[in-house]
């Protein structure tokens, strides 16, 4: 059993946090998990991308094909769409991406993560909306536990906990 995932965006979009929350829950569920982050040298506005492998044994931390990919900006789409598995699902942040994907995969889902987050009250929660949406495609990760993990992740800023939990829920329930 092996799930290969890739999440990518621009620094500040919360991609790493999204990946970490997901991985923490996967570990709790007993999986062997690898979270491999990649950064640019720049302090601001650089690429943040991670490969996540959820498996039952030792695997390559570098994925061959993403069964699930989330791209939050246009450059991420251009750079990584060639890593899509033909049977995989590509989630495109349509708030920031106007171009059409050019790759083979089972389905492409365009979701306006930023519009959804802005409507909820804070565009910064777009990453949690995206995480919620991702979970629709990950039956092996229980939503409830992720919700608890989101609460934990924002422990230090209790004020923003409800908003982020709501964002996760909204993403999860988004049609």
């Amino acid at each position: 059993m092996k799930h290969e995932l890739l999440f990518s965006g621009i620094g500040g979009q919360g991609i790493m946090m999204l990946g970490e929350i997901l991985c923490n829950v996967a570990v709790e569920e007993g999986f062997q998990v690898t979270f491999a982050p990649f950064y640019g040298q720049e302090k601001r506005g650089g690429r943040t991308m991670c490969h996540v492998v959820i498996a039952d044994g030792l695997e390559s931390p570098i994925i061959s094909e993403a069964e699930l990919m989330l791209v939050m900006d246009e450059k991420s789409l251009k750079d990584f769409q060639n890593l899509m598995a033909p049977t995989g699902t590509l989630l495109v942040n349509s708030s920031m991406i106007d171009i059409e994907p050019d790759c083979q995969c089972k389905e492409v889902k365009k979701v306006p993560f930023y519009e959804i987050a802005t409507e909820l009250g804070n565009s910064k929660t777009a990453n949690m909306v995206a995480l919620g949406y991702l979970l629709k495609y990950m039956p092996y990760i229980p939503y409830e536990k992720v919700s608890k993990e989101v609460e934990k992740a924002f422990e230090a800023k209790p004020k923003v906990v409800p908003l982020n939990v709501q964002a996760l829920k909204t993403g999860y329930e988004y049609k």
Partner: protein, 348 residues
């Protein structure tokens, strides 16, 4: 053993070193190793650690030499540019018999280069990047778990042979998080009669690497060589995966070995008989891992322009059967990419 955590390589390594009784850390921040000094600095008070941020790696490597000379467990962590500055002290510590542990988190050079994963410092670590005839033990983990175990073992080996030990990591292993069961506390248990502590109740100890005539210095060198020969004979470490029936054998270490495991699985699924030799000790190079594999075809994969491949060619009987595939600049190939290379070798 006990604590099961999901931890970043650098952090898990630092925690395991602390648990190994390494109370002294001298360092200089450099990506992708900085979480190690940061962790030591953060834990210093509660664990009673001494953390010093030196002005340069040149100074830092001399500081760990000084600390090691007192018989205490000591460590630094750096990356290629800093490791280069440390080379004079690596030569010094090997000559003076100082058991310091150095974590080298490789990133792509030459020069400043990039900050993602690379393995281009193999020669520097394995062949002795400083001057003179010396060697340092080099251990290369391939997972966060193995990193935790090998860092603890590094201190024991350093003390056993009174020689510096390099733990060769890379930006991928250092920055990635994995499930890990942290190793327990270890106690230092070795002869320290040689250490500099003030000569109360014993004859004074002197450490010098300044020769006293050619005859004396040749003898000094021959003693060192004898030690290196003993390390070679006793400390080869490796892991072989499905090599017996294999037609093609991948050779890879560190994070690249993980990619090779993925490639091997893809190949096996496609019906190709592919195995893997994974050197864990890079010096001494695990010659014994290749015993009985003389007639196989080898594909050495590295995040370099081809460095360990030279040692593989020196080891196997038919070097024309040794092929190489590498990526540079911080790009780590995917398992599929390596699988494509395997197919190109066109094995029956």
């Amino acid at each position: 053993m006990g604590d099961k955590v999901f931890m970043q390589g650098n952090v898990a390594l630092a925690e395991s070193a602390i648990r190994a009784g390494c109370k002294y850390f001298f360092g200089y921040p450099i990506t992708p190793s900085s979480e190690v000094p940061e962790y030591y600095a953060r834990r210093a008070e509660e664990e009673g650690l001494v953390f010093v941020q030196g002005e340069t790696e040149t100074a830092v490597f001399n500081m760990i030499a000084g600390a090691a000379a007192t018989g205490n467990r000591v460590m630094t962590a750096t990356s290629g540019p800093g490791f280069s500055l440390g080379q004079e002290a690596m030569s010094f510590m090997a000559a003076a018999g100082l058991p310091a542990v150095v974590v080298e988190v490789m990133r792509p050079g030459p020069a400043d280069g990039e900050i993602l994963a690379a393995q281009g410092d193999y020669f520097q670590a394995v062949k002795g990047g400083g001057h003179g005839d010396y060697n340092t033990l080099v251990l290369a983990p391939c997972s966060v778990q193995e990193m935790c175990e090998l860092i603890q073992e590094s201190f024991e080996l350093a003390e056993k042979y009174r020689n510096p030990v390099i733990l060769l990591s890379d930006a991928l292993l250092a920055k990635m998080r994995e499930n890990v069961e942290l190793p327990g506390r270890k106690e230092q248990n070795c002869d320290l009669s040689w250490a500099l502590t003030g000569c109360a109740g014993r004859k004074h100890n002197v450490m010098t690497t300044c020769g006293d005539g050619s005859a004396q210095w040749e003898k000094y060198n021959l003693d060192l060589q004898e030690k290196f020969a003993k390390i070679k004979a006793n400390e080869e470490r490796w892991e072989n995966y499905q090599t017996e029936d294999a037609d093609i054998i991948l050779v890879a270490y560190g994070s690249m070995a993980r990619v090779a495991i993925g490639a091997m699985k893809l190949a096996r699924e496609a019906g190709l008989k592919v195995g893997l030799v994974r050197p864990i000790s890079l010096w001494p190079f695990p010659v014994k891992a290749f015993e009985g594999l003389g007639d196989k075809t080898f594909l050495v994969t590295e995040l370099s322009a081809g460095q360990m491949v030279e040692d593989v060619k020196l080891t196997v009987p038919h070097k024309e059967n040794v092929h190489f595939y590498g990526r540079l600049g911080g790009i780590v190939p995917t398992p599929k990419e390596i699988f494509e290379q395997i197919k190109k070798l066109g094995v029956k």
